[in-house]
Amino acid sequence: MVKWDAVKEGDSVTPMVKDPIKRDEIIAYGNAGGDTNPIHMNEKAAEGAGLGGVIAHGLYNMALVCHMMTNWIGKDGKLKRIDVQFRGMVRPGDRVTSTGKITKKYVKDGEKCVDIDIVQEAKTPVASGTILQFEKVDAATTEAMTRQWLKGGDNLLFEVTKECSTEIEKDGKKLKRKAMDYKIWRVQSSILGSATAVLS
């Protein structure tokens, strides 16, 4: 729970990371939320509508943002207003991260308020595998690797998911070499918006 006296403009809201979204979760949200539009519930219908498969409800993505906000605000405060634009489609397998930053801190009608800018990013897995680790993996290396494998991808994120070892054959001999499992994500904004919270 956050206190109004303890925050300042520029501070971040505690982010909320949602593990890769499952199709079942989208269907469960559609049933609970009362929006069973086939583009969310039925793969064939979504493909027929030119979407290339089911997409999560914008309101589901917004619910994840609301969850982040209420967790951060705590029981003694309240969410007063939220306004979002759904900027990108979120699909099964995407990992969604909601974030917020305080843009204004003020008192209005006796309430201790903060305005928040909201950004939610969806990361879509586009490649994964195991590669030998020839050198230390730093930011420049991963950027170069990402560029090499996926040309023209401005919003790509390279992530080492596990340090491991693998066997290679050289001159008829099996050798053990350090390796790493990696994943490459395409990153896009799924939500941009703002909110106003009253804090205790």
């Binding site: 609970a32 009362g34 509508a49 914008g58 589901y60 917004m62 969850h67 979002v84």
Partner: protein, 144 residues
């Protein structure tokens, strides 16, 4: 970017057909809270609705944007929900009966898509305003 408004002006101001009042139950709150991975026990126990629950009664108690746009939106599968805003006035509890009323406040064409903006207000059984909503819908080419 140029926006085409003139040919859609007859739709602006249309009231959305009101639906039946939405009776809030603890089960509906629990189911919704679970579906969006809420961790607050009060939401999971269905004692009070999380803010995002507004989507449920706004959708259920409105007759539908498509009905208000009869003759304009030809293929509902081409509709994309592109924005949503809420303002909160009172918390929602089981036993509340919520009625929403909505009105089309803007319709225009931009970037080959049709944009429809709807404002909605929900009141409870005491006549108190509990929430306001602004819904933005984009209809893709071929859908209007």
């Amino acid at each position: 970017m140029a926006e085409e408004r003139e040919k859609y002006k007859e739709y602006v101001g249309r009231e959305l057909p009101p639906g039946k009042p939405y009776a809030v139950t603890a089960d509906a709150i629990k189911k919704y809270a679970l579906s969006c991975h809420e961790s607050d026990q009060d939401y999971l126990d269905g004692k009070v609705a999380p803010p995002a629950f507004t989507s449920v009664y706004t959708l259920k108690s409105l007759g539908g944007v498509v009905a208000a746009m009869k003759g304009l939106v030809k293929n509902p599968l081409m509709i994309l929900h592109t924005g949503q805003a809420y303002e909160y006035f009172e918390p929602i509890h089981p036993g509340d009966e919520l009625t929403s009323s909505g009105k089309v406040v803007d319709v225009y064409e931009r970037n080959r898509m049709l944009w429809i903006i709807v404002d909605a207000v929900a009141t409870n059984q005491k006549g108190n305003k509990v929430s306001g909503a602004r819904i933005t819908i984009g209809v893709r080419p071929g859908g209007f």
